[in-house]
Amino acid sequence: MAGETDTSRSGPQKHGGSGYITTTVDALINWGRRNSLWPMPFGTACCAIEMMATLASRYDLARFGAEVIRFSPRQSDLMIVSGRVCLKMMPVLIEIYNQMPEPKWCISMGACASTGGVFDTYTMIQGVDQFIPVDVYIPGCPPRPESLIDAVMLIQERIKRGERQTKLYDRTRHPLDFAPLALVSGAVEGAPVLTGSRHSLPGKDVPFQEQSFGPPERIVTHVERTQAAQRGTQAEQQKSP
């Protein structure tokens, strides 16, 4: 019936033919946010090449409203960590993430940003999600541009549903430098590192105790969602005759 509000939708509603719409302020703001994501490219390695390809004309992220790449974190709301992050870069990443205004989202692109990838060495951060909250992970080495587009669309969908990063994080308690070695179990403060004698320090395996946010929820990919929807319509069609 014309003019009746469809309560199952929360976006802008068109009423009849009289040329006005009603909506809530939140829905309107979220509509604007999801259609004008401003990414902050944190491209540190080869994945960044694929990110650039995504932004360029062949794949054209502009079609999804995310073409305004901002190199200033103050103006961006979507961080794309694409590439390896090393010991010296991690404070920079944290600083930039801190500077982005909320609400903000984060994509961890590629094996290296998500897990450290093949670089299991003293200088590589084994997954940025250990230290900053990540919303969407993209597998691959490097992921194809389609995967990055899918990740952006997943974020858009979360904004559409009115989701925020569900947890707020305390930025004040976040010193930028790594802890002194004395805090590492087994290391002795002032140990004569320069002597070159064999030190019998344990390897990496210092377990993480203060787990302050749980493992990320399983994210249904775009493909899975489309397939599920298709299955649903097929089942309906089989039922109807």
Partner: protein, 175 residues
């Protein structure tokens, strides 16, 4: 005119005596093995009198985990390696100076080549070899607060926990 490398080896031995431990030829590449104390005068001689006017690289070898038969070539644990190039003669020469664990130091060659500056800083950063007389010997790759020298063979590959020690984002507790 090419440099006569075999006779250069003989004249180096005659000139520097015991400080030249010997030389080796591998696939027509000449390596001079010297004691660390002689690196400045010997490299100055090579630069001024033998025509090796360009320093292409300064690097280092840690012999700790080499197989036994190769360790025989290393009277000390570390070898600081100078790669020289002669622009007029189109010849290359490698000089290895052996540095013990303690005291782990050698004279800087920055008075001869400015190019040694960053190379020596990298060797210091990665191996902990101290270059005496270097104008600004500080880390070049690792962060300033870093402890240890990660390319030493007794440094654990996965580090000593530095990469896991950043502060995590902490949730704001619900009020």
């Amino acid at each position: 005119m090419a440099v006569d490398l075999p006779s250069l080896m003989t004249s180096l031995k005659a000139r520097f005596g015991d400080d030249v431990l010997g030389h080796a030829v591998f696939r027509e590449q000449y390596v001079v093995r010297i004691r660390r104390g002689a690196n400045l005068p010997l490299l100055r001689f090579l630069r001024d009198d033998a025509g090796f006017d360009m320093l292409t690289d300064v690097t280092c070898v840690d012999s700790l985990s080499l197989p036994q038969d190769m360790q025989a070539d290393y009277p000390e644990r570390f070898a600081v390696v100078y790669q020289l190039y002669s622009v007029p003669h189109n010849e290359r020469l490698r000089v290895k100076a052996y540095v013990p664990e303690e005291p782990c130091e050698i004279d800087s060659v920055t008075p001869l080549w400015e190019a040694a500056n960053w190379g020596e800083r990298e060797v210091y950063d990665m191996y902990g070899v101290v270059f005496k007389g270097h104008p600004d010997l500080k880390r070049i790759l690792m962060p300033d607060g870093y402890e240890g020298h990660p390319l030493r063979k007794d440094y654990p590959l996965k580090g000593r926990g530095e990469r896991d020690r950043f502060q995590k984002y902490t949730e704001i507790p619900p009020r």
